[in-house]
């Protein structure tokens, strides 16, 4: 295959940085390859992508050494504008990747800048809009788009010139599982049918490994692994388990080999080894056994265990709920027109519950959290948080405006809030000197300080807290939020990350178009659907196991020889 990218001993250091972000990389990419770029946060994935499109070093400055050629052009001599026709980049933050007022203007801009005639522009815009299913928003102002829509528009703008190489930096971080899977499928289709080479940097590897031809893992700016997805599964388990997919962890814990790349591989292996989900007593029909699944207008899917509806059971006794919505309707202004974002929501969340709020982009997750925090008024009905509600927004950095931690949280109550998040030692530090996880906890302390009964607010909400986090940080966050819930606060996390939800939540609420369409325990909801299901649930066929640990337990049980008595019978 022809060589598309060639790096030889390429190193790069950002201006003012103490150490290089990329160290002596030797890497070749062939035409039409689909490469997944893996690695922990800060390992150099984004820098490598920026180097491949010429932003590094042309735009960011700094020092580069070694050789880097893309599509036959020496990147030291050719900048991003010259490479732009052959290379498209979709970055992490969609807000900064849209430069035009309307979606159509955004898609036309690269073509206009290259002097394409009107007819060619119209056709290219139509085709890329069809491919990314954004024809319905072509005339929308870009400042009215949701994060997911912006992400699609940014991708469309990168693809409209039909580049030979497309670079994507965590493109699914803002997308729901449905849109994320669709995006990876689309990339695979473009790769297979048009030979477009793809380099995709991702933390949620379980979504994209199946589509990849090759995986490159970076560690502190160096290549730690370069090989097939199958090889990566084994390498990650041995060298850096935080990078391993849930499927690989499941097999590793259960002692099943070979380690899978995707759910399909895993199921095939289980079948070969006589461990078909049904034969092994695992799995069952989807959407059965869900504790409380309700559907407006359609009655209930299933009764909860115990026979009595959960809501009525709670109302007979026990403490009042931490959060209660009664016939909640919320309307949002969509360019002068009111859009119903929440429709007649009925909900109760108890103190100490760990709840994941899931649903497609635009389903109403953030609206519910913002309403709970008092940022949006209900149009009808009520939403009560008796002991207060703290909301950590999607950009926690917006809460940190001062140069010392104790200036953000002064006094005794401030110190208590810092202690509640384990940062009592950081009073004199500059928030910018804290790690990413510590900054997130500090921001949480800022929104929690002084709320509730002096210890913590009754409800703590987090809106998409795992954006851009690697597996290790997600695990640490899940543990920390669990401790917060154990302290008595109801913790509600709006997330698209089903694996994080499986690790953190005991209960999952699924919203669809502003309505509550499912409400049940995490193992029931996250094993009973097609899209909102973990990889382990998909491998095992939906038998209630959603984490690698639970799944491995089930597999080990089915691998164990039956008791003697049972064999005789």
């Amino acid at each position: 295959m022809a060589e598309l990218v060639c790096l030889e001993r390429f190193s790069y250091t950002y201006p003012g940085a103490g150490e290089p972000a990329l160290r002596e990389l030797d890497l070749e990419l062939a035409e039409g390859e689909f490469i997944v770029l893996a690695g922990r946060s800060g390992c150099g994935k984004s820098t490598l992508l920026r180097a491949l499109c010429g932003l590094v070093p042309h735009y960011h400055g700094g020092e580069a050494s070694g050789a880097l050629a893309v599509c036959g052009l020496d990147v030291r001599e050719h900048g991003p504008a010259e490479l732009g026709g052959a290379v498209g980049l979709v970055g992490q933050e969609p807000e900064t990747q849209v430069v035009s007022t309307t979606v159509r203007g955004e898609l036309e801009l690269p073509l206009e800048l290259r002097g394409e005639p009107g007819a060619a522009r119209a056709r290219a815009v139509e085709e890329v809009a069809l491919a990314l299913a954004i024809t319905g928003i072509l005339e929308r102002p870009t400042d009215t788009l949701s994060g997911g829509e912006l992400q699609r528009v940014a991708l469309a703008a990168a693809l409209v010139l039909r580049p030979r190489l497309v670079l994507l930096d965590e493109p699914t971080s803002q997308l729901d599982p449905v849109a994320g899977d669709e995006l990876v499928g689309l990339l695979r289709r473009l790769n297979e049918e048009w030979g477009m080479a793809v380099v995709l940097a991702e933390h949620r590897l379980e979504r994209c490994l199946a589509a990849a031809d090759r995986v490159v893992a970076l560690e502190r700016g160096r290549i730690a692994f370069d090989g097939s997805p199958t090889g990566f599964a084994g390498w990650s388990i041995a060298a850096d388990p935080a990078l391993a997919t849930p499927g690989a962890r499941l097999f590793s814990l259960a002692g099943v080999r070979p380690l899978p790349v995707a759910a399909k591989d895993a199921r095939r292996t289980l079948l070969r080894q006589g461990l078909a989900p049904r034969a092994a007593g695992i799995g069952g029909p989807p959407m059965v056994g869900v504790g409380r699944i309700t559907r407006r207008g359609g009655g209930s899917f299933a009764q909860p265990p115990g026979g009595m509806p959960a809501r009525r059971r709670r109302r007979r006794g026990g403490p009042s709920p931490a959060l209660e919505a009664r016939d909640l309707w919320v309307e949002l202004d969509a360019g002068g027109v009111a859009r119903r974002a929440l429709r007649g929501l009925e909900l109760q969340i108890r103190a100490g519950e760990r709840v994941a709020l899931m649903g497609r982009n635009g389903a109403g997750k953030s609206t519910l959290l913002r309403c709970a925090a008092g940022l949006l008024p209900p149009a009808r009905g009520s939403l009560d948080a008796a002991r207060g509600c703290a909301l950590l927004p999607q950009s926690p950095a917006d809460l940190l405006l001062r140069e010392r931690v104790d200036e953000e949280l002064p006094g005794e109550l401030g110190a208590e809030a810092l202690a509640a998040v384990g940062l009592e030692w950081a009073g004199e530090r500059d928030p910018r000197d804290l790690s990413g996880g510590e900054r997130e906890r500090l921001a949480l302390a800022v929104v929690m300080a002084g709320r509730g009964d002096g210890k913590a607010p009754g409800v703590v909400c987090l809106d998409e807290p795992t954006r851009g986090m690697d597996g290790a940080r997600k695990r640490a966050l899940a543990e920390w939020l669990g401790e917060l819930a154990d302290g008595g606060s109801a913790v509600i996390v709006a997330t698209h990350d089903v694996e994080f939800a499986a690790r953190f939540a005991a209960r999952v609420l699924l919203l669809g178009d502003g309505e509550l369409i499912a409400d049940g325990s995490a193992d029931e909801v996250l094993s009973g659907g097609w899209y909102f299901a973990t990889e382990v649930a998909r491998i095992l066929g939906g038998g209630g196991a959603i984490t690698p640990e639970q799944g491995a337990r089930q597999l080990r049980e089915s691998l164990a020889p039956p008791p003697l008595g049972a064999a005789r019978a």
Binding site: P80, A417, V447
Partner: protein, 297 residues
């Protein structure tokens, strides 16, 4: 809710004129505000800006500019009153202030501050209406031949207001989410963060612009199909702008509309100055003459 300064597509002559003509028109209003110190002339330019803003349907932008202009104006008048120790009409004598020592406050110093404040308000108003009514996409295309090799410059000019507006809305919302025991966040802290953050974001947007091919050596940006429709309105705005700038500069050269703050404030109120002020309002309104759809709230 969108920022008052954020661009919203509108109907009317201003929306249909070219970005170059619209920018030249608002630039001429700002130019006269800079070259003239006479409060009557400045009042005329200010009235012209208000007429244009109302006719273009940018009342919210005018309101926002008026609020910022008033806040800045009070500050400028106060600082000038304390800093300028000239003027014959002493209002407060021997005011003892820490650090600054003993100060007099004169009516002339306050009047000079008032003229500066009026100038700032007029320029802010012109900027606000331009920002709310002139499509940033067209500004970007306009700037390309001038700043092809600086996507950052183009971004700062064409996209800084939308970016800052979005950031401001987010920061304001984050400030509302702070717990009661967290230190409250004032406007100054938000503005400080906004300035630093918006520049960072502008750099990121400029990087995207580079990748889209902004600095690419294509012969020219492909023509817009709306170009011919712009012509009539563009000419009107261009001519009105030339008239405003010409009248302001000519009056300045001719010595009309003088204002001297010291030693005692003296203000030209001759017919030429009054005619100039009224003429500026008329010239500003001229491009909207005969247009119904432009006169909307």
């Amino acid at each position: 809710m969108r920022s008052a300064l954020a661009y919203v597509p509108r109907l009317g002559p201003l929306a249909e004129s070219s970005a170059l003509a619209a920018t030249a028109f608002f630039g001429s209003l700002a130019l006269v505000a800079f070259v003239s110190s006479n409060p009557i002339v400045l009042g005329g330019v200010g009235a012209g800006v208000v007429v244009v803003g109302v006719a273009a349907g940018a009342r919210r932008a005018l309101g926002a500019a008026a609020r910022w202009g008033a806040a800045l104006g009070v500050l400028v008048v106060a600082v000038n009153g304390l800093a300028s120790q000239r003027g014959a009409t002493i209002l407060v004598r021997g005011w003892e202030l820490p650090v600054l020592g003993q100060l007099d406050v004169s009516a002339e110093a306050l009047a000079e501050g008032g003229v500066l404040a009026l100038r700032i308000a007029v320029v802010l108003g012109a900027f606000a209406v331009h920002s709310a009514c002139v499509d940033p996409d067209r500004m970007l295309r306009l700037l390309r031949p001038l700043a092809r090799h600086s996507a950052l410059t183009a971004t700062l000019i064409a996209r800084l207001v939308p970016l800052a507006a979005a950031d401001h809305a987010r920061l304001r919302e984050a400030a509302r989410l702070r717990g009661p025991a967290a230190a409250p966040v004032g406007r100054a802290a938000i503005v400080r963060r906004l300035v630093a953050g918006s520049l960072d974001r502008a750099v990121d947007v400029a990087a995207t612009l580079e990748l889209r091919g902004y600095a690419h050596g294509a012969p020219r940006v492909a023509g817009s199909s709306r170009h011919s429709r712009h012509s009539r309105h563009s000419w009107r705005f261009a001519l009105a702008g030339a008239g405003i700038a010409g009248a302001g500069v000519a009056a300045r050269i001719a010595g009309a509309g003088e204002f001297d703050a010291y030693p005692t404030a003296s203000l030209d109120t001759d017919p030429l100055t009054l005619c100039l002020a009224v003429g500026l309002v008329g010239l500003a309104a001229l491009p909207f003459a005969g247009s119904r759809k432009g006169i909307r709230g």
